[in-house]
């Protein structure tokens, strides 16, 4: 089974081929090459996976050392791939979903002037992501970590031609660099205390770590994860990242890259088991992120932004699971989330595609009549994410919440906050479905773009995102068009079959994904049986009776959310503004304190979240940039250009050096 090197090698080959010949292959051959590369990688992954399935649990891993990266000396690192139960599962869903999204992009990107370049980035991304999960040591993971980050910036700013406008990419860059710093430091710390960066050796030696060290390492890796996986307080870049093409949002900013933080902490479960209170912190950050982001999701009008906040929120659930050492739950939810969130994003992409690249949901309505396939598949995604049994999201979310419930004295509180977020999730997802597919009114026919109520504080951002989306090459044939060319006489048409096929497949997976890990008896917990041998850490689900109660409560919560949303947005029993207010005010408390701490403006509405994001965080990001520039400029007068001033500098320096030395002299 040495063939595992093919798993990352195929996308790399695709990448190289497209770099060399991409422009010649053109549209759509370049896209097909890229798709085939990833699909081939999926086939290899599946073959290795099936092979491992036939082996006893302790032999289920393959290590292939391609070459000694850093040989000799005290510091040995191999360029090695490690395919075991955990990385195998990751490979399967990365390549599987990756292939589907590539296929989708073949149709979605049609006509883009940089068609082949898009697939170059996309293949490079998949290769990096596979290195990230397959690496047998921290440095390999870091390599992939940086690679996916770079591809992410490149793809976020894919449609930006002016660097001044690429603030979304910039924001992603800054937050991710903060995270990377944590990664590097933690790696050093582990290396200095254990003398290795190899995962197997680290997890084996972890019990020897001093408690403080383990906690510090865990916190630093968590810092890295908050950047990459968009958790509080570094989640702000993800909603902005939606400026990129929709397949990118689905692949990178929903299914794969943003979950790498979860993967990293799971991979290091041995260290996490020693990390003490760091785990509690992770759980709390996770659940609060879930709550805050779900709240923010309610106030968005851009369909992709709703999904973006929803992603942040679902990632929060995964970290809640990691923090309660419920790694199986985390991975389970990661996989099902990848299914339904990719589905929702691709569905949203199909809607946007049919609606002439309009992303504002207030201009949709009654689309089920025009887009039956998209409607049905997205409907499945909606039920799955809302946690309605028997769809996949129900099982994984329930597992996460049940695990949290059982996690020490604070468990019930964590569970309650989690279930609140779940209710909000059901609420905003139902809102999305109703605004898009239901309601008799076809708003693009009735409402002109200018007449939309000035609701969202992030209106400008949304419009600019929408603007760039429309600016893309699908409409390069009518160059010089304006942003909003969704005309009242527009008739939405279903997207081409390459785009619909992935939707159908993902919808199927979103329905049956729960089968991976059914809680009825231990025999049915396939995922748990599969992964647990490589995990450390104590974790137990509550007893069967409690489990049933929790499950029923969760279902009730989901139904409640859906029903509430239905009342507001479909039946119009209550004006949306009126109903939103208590909800808005509730989450605003969190935001207000947050805003006060940072010194930003707080406004008494849910939109304050968005406002905060715009003003304070953007300001902070730009502030970091302009601040460093300012420091630089302030230092420049030290360089006046006169020889004598430079000599003075040298002389002053030597006087200082001498002054220091004098303190050490013994005469």
């Amino acid at each position: 089974m040495d063939a595992i090197w093919l798993i990352p090698a195929l996308p790399v080959a695709g990448f190289l081929l497209l770099v060399v010949a991409g422009r010649k292959l053109g549209d759509p051959a370049a896209g097909w090459v890229a798709t085939l590369a990833v699909a081939g990688s999926f086939v290899v992954s599946a073959a290795v996976f099936l092979h491992l399935l036939g082996l006893p649990a302790e032999e289920r891993n393959v290590t292939v050392t391609l070459w000694q990266w850093l040989p000799a000396g005290s510091f040995q690192v191999s360029f090695g791939l490690f395919f075991d139960q955990l990385s195998g599962v990751m490979c399967l869903f990365i390549t599987g979903i990756g292939a589907l999204i590539h296929l989708y992009a073949v149709g979605y990107m049609k006509g883009d002037p940089h068609y082949s370049r898009f697939f170059v980035y996309l293949n490079l991304f998949v290769a990096s992501m596979l290195l990230l999960v397959l690496g047998d040591n921290l440095l390999m993971t870091f390599l992939g970590w940086e690679g996916v980050g770079a591809c992410s910036y490149l793809l976020i700013s894919f449609w930006f031609t002016d660097p001044a406008n690429a603030s979304a990419g910039k924001k992603a860059f800054v937050t991710n660099r903060i995270g990377d710093l944590g990664f590097m430091l933690a790696t050093f710390l582990l290396f200095v205390s254990l003398g290795t960066v190899n995962y197997t050796e680290i997890n084996a030696a972890a019990p020897k770590l001093a408690g403080v060290t383990a906690t510090a390492v865990a916190l630093l890796f968590f810092l890295a994860a908050t950047g990459k996986s968009a958790q509080l307080p570094l989640f702000v870049w993800l909603p902005d990242a939606m400026a990129g093409p929709t397949p990118v949002s689905a692949l990178i900013h929903a299914a794969t890259m943003v979950t790498s933080g979860v993967f990293l902490l799971t991979r290091l479960s041995g260290v996490m088991a020693e990390a003490g209170w760091a785990n509690g912190l992770i759980a709390w950050v996770g659940v609060l992120t879930a709550l805050v982001a779900a709240g923010a999701g309610v106030a968005q009008n851009d369909i992709k932004k709703v999904l973006a906040y929803s992603t942040v929120s679902q990632l929060g659930f995964m970290f809640l699971a990691v923090g309660t050492q419920n790694y199986v739950g985390a991975i389970f939810h990661m996989i099902t989330h990848a299914f339904f969130k990719a589905l929702l994003f691709l569905g949203a992409g199909a809607v946007i595609y049919s609606m002439a690249h309009e992303q504002d949901m207030r201009r949709y309505g009654n689309l089920r009549k025009y887009l039956p396939v998209t409607f049905v598949t997205m409907g499945i995604g909606w039920l799955a994410i809302s946690g309605i049994p028997p769809f996949s999201g129900f099982w994984s979310k329930d597992e996460v919440l049940a695990g949290a419930f059982n996690a020490g004295p604070a468990g019930p509180v964590l569970w309650f906050l989690g279930i609140t977020a779940a209710v909000l999730t059901a609420f905003y997802m139902t809102r999305l479905m109703i605004m898009t597919f239901f309601g008799g009114a076809e708003h693009w026919r009735t409402d002109a773009a200018e007449s939309l109520p000035e609701g969202g504080a992030d209106e400008d951002a949304e419009l600019s995102v929408a603007g760039h989306d429309t600016g893309h090459g699908a409409h390069s044939d009518d160059a010089g068009h304006d942003h909003h060319h969704l005309t009242p006489d527009h008739t939405p048409r279903e997207a081409p079959v390459t785009m619909l096929l992935p939707l159908v497949v993902l919808a199927g997976l979103a329905v049956v994904g729960g089968l991976m890990n059914l809680p009825f008896s231990h025999r049915l917990e396939n995922l748990a049986i599969w992964i647990e041998p490589v995990l450390a850490g104590e974790h137990e689900l509550p007893g069967a009776a409690v489990l049933w109660v929790l499950a029923i409560l969760a279902t009730a919560g989901a139904v409640l959310g859906v029903w509430f949303s239905y009342r507001v947005y479909q039946q119009h029993k209550v004006a949306p503004e009126k109903v939103e207010k208590p909800v808005l005010a509730h989450a605003w408390y969190i935001d207000e304190t947050y805003a006060k701490v940072v010194g930003g403006p707080g406004e008494a509405s849910f939109d304050a979240v968005a406002e905060f994001d715009q003003k304070v965080v953007d300001g902070a990001v730009n502030g970091v940039g302009s601040g460093t520039r300012w420091i630089g400029r302030a230092l420049r007068p030290l360089q006046p250009g006169f020889v004598r001033s430079y000599a003075l500098g040298v002389a002053v320096g030597s006087v200082l050096v001498l002054a220091f030395v004098v303190t050490r002299m013994s005469l």
């Binding site: 070459w67 000694q68 990266w69 850093l70 040989p71 000799a72 000396g73 005290s74 510091f75 440095l139 870091f142 390599l143 940086e146 690679g147 770079a150 700013s157 930006f160 031609t161 002016d162 660097p163 690429a166 860059f173 660099r177 710093l181 590097m184 430091l185 050093f188 290396f191 200095v192 940039g625 460093t628 520039r629 420091i631 630089g632 400029r633 230092l635 420049r636 030290l638 360089q639 250009g641 020889v643 001033s645 430079y646 000599a647 500098g649 040298v650 002053v652 320096g653 030597s654 200082l656 050096v657 001498l658 220091f660 030395v661 050490r664 002299m665 013994s666 005469l667």
Partner: protein, 506 residues
Amino acid sequence: MTGFVAVLAATEDIPTPDVDWSAIAPNLILMLGGILLLTVVSVVRGRLPGWFHAVWTISVATAAIVAVVPLWQRVQDSGPESVLAGALVLDGFSLVVTATICVSVILAALLLEAYLRRERLGGPEWYVLMLLSASGGVTMATANDLVVVFIGLEILSVAVYVLAAMHRRRVSSQEAGLKYFVLGAFSSAFLLYGIALTYGATGSTNLSRIQAFLADTVITQNALLLGGLAFMLVGFGFKVAVVPFHNWKPDVYQGSPTPVTAFMATAVTAAAFAALLRVYVTTFGPTYRTEWQPLVAALTVLTLVVGAFLAISQTNVKRMLAYSSINHAGFVLLGVLAASAAGDAATLFYLVAYTFMAAGSFAVVAVVGRRGDGHHDLSDYQGLSRSRPGLALVFTILLLSQAGVPLTAGFLAKFYVLAAAVESGYTWLAVLAMLTAVVSAFMYLRIVVTMYFAEPEGEPRRPRIPAAAGLAMGLCVVGVLVIGIVPGPLSDVANDAVSQLVAVGR
């Protein structure tokens, strides 16, 4: 008269030291190669093709590298030796630095050939001076005596002062020459004063004797010695551009002809760091480490921070790279600061990696500068990805390597020095260094973004890429990638070289 005859008739030998010519072969090749070039050219003036000087220089440098190989074997087999009555030392460290300097001569000569042609300048002097300067650098790296260090430094520097001012038509070139010269002489005086004080305190200028003396003797009155250490640090600090002795660097790098800048950034830096390391770590490390480490730590902080922050506020790419090289010097200083075998290996690794990164980057700058060597503004890089996609890609790889992205040489170079610093207990400094790396990453990214995303004002110009410059860039990119992907051989060599860093007396 009879006395004179008696002197002539005297049979007893004047004692002369044994000269092991093979041990100093690389240095001799460089020096004689330079002198011979000058001689040959003056004899057959005008009948030599234009490319002759460059080919000669490259051959000489290659020959010197070839001469290093058997010496390396010898050192690996039978350990380090002292040569020329203890004036020089033959060890792995000096040999690797020698080879590095020769590589930078080759790269700079390739650049120079293209550059001189474009600028309509000529003459063998450029190459002669470069070879002599390299010989000075090798002397510095091999020195086993403070006086030899000083002489090597002067041979290196005096030639570079001239090279900096060699572009007759550029005012800024002469300005660079004058600034470098006045300040360089100033700082040499500091170095020399430090050597004098050290001599007074230890009774010798020979490094191995100083080391032995310090190991045997407990100095109760250490004022002289510490003063000497402080003054020498100023002298070395100036050469490697440690803040606050750095301020010549941006002006000189910007003003000098770009190939000369490339030579300075690589050969001069490597030689100066080699000498700094040998004096401070090897000689004074075992006994006086605790005295200079806090000082060097403080200087490292300043160097890292000032280099990164000032680089960001620049709009001239050449100047940006000059400031970024100050930041790099801070990283190398981390390796020196560690004062351990790992630190020495890391320093050496960084110097080799930086040679490729810096030479390649300045090669791109030289090409984009176009005739007159003046188009170095950030706006001159707008649209480069379209007019010269290959050039933009090369620059991107080199800049990413400077920023420390994995799978490039820069990542491992940074990683090794940081690991060495952490191992020696300077975790806080490693954190700070990483922060400054983030700051300078902004700057590198800014250049990359400008090349790829900025719309050029008017028609983007296609800078001509001469074959020689293209070859130099190719070598640098290959070097950066090979070191990044298969660093094994180099890190083996660095580790072997450092374990040999033992100053040996007679």
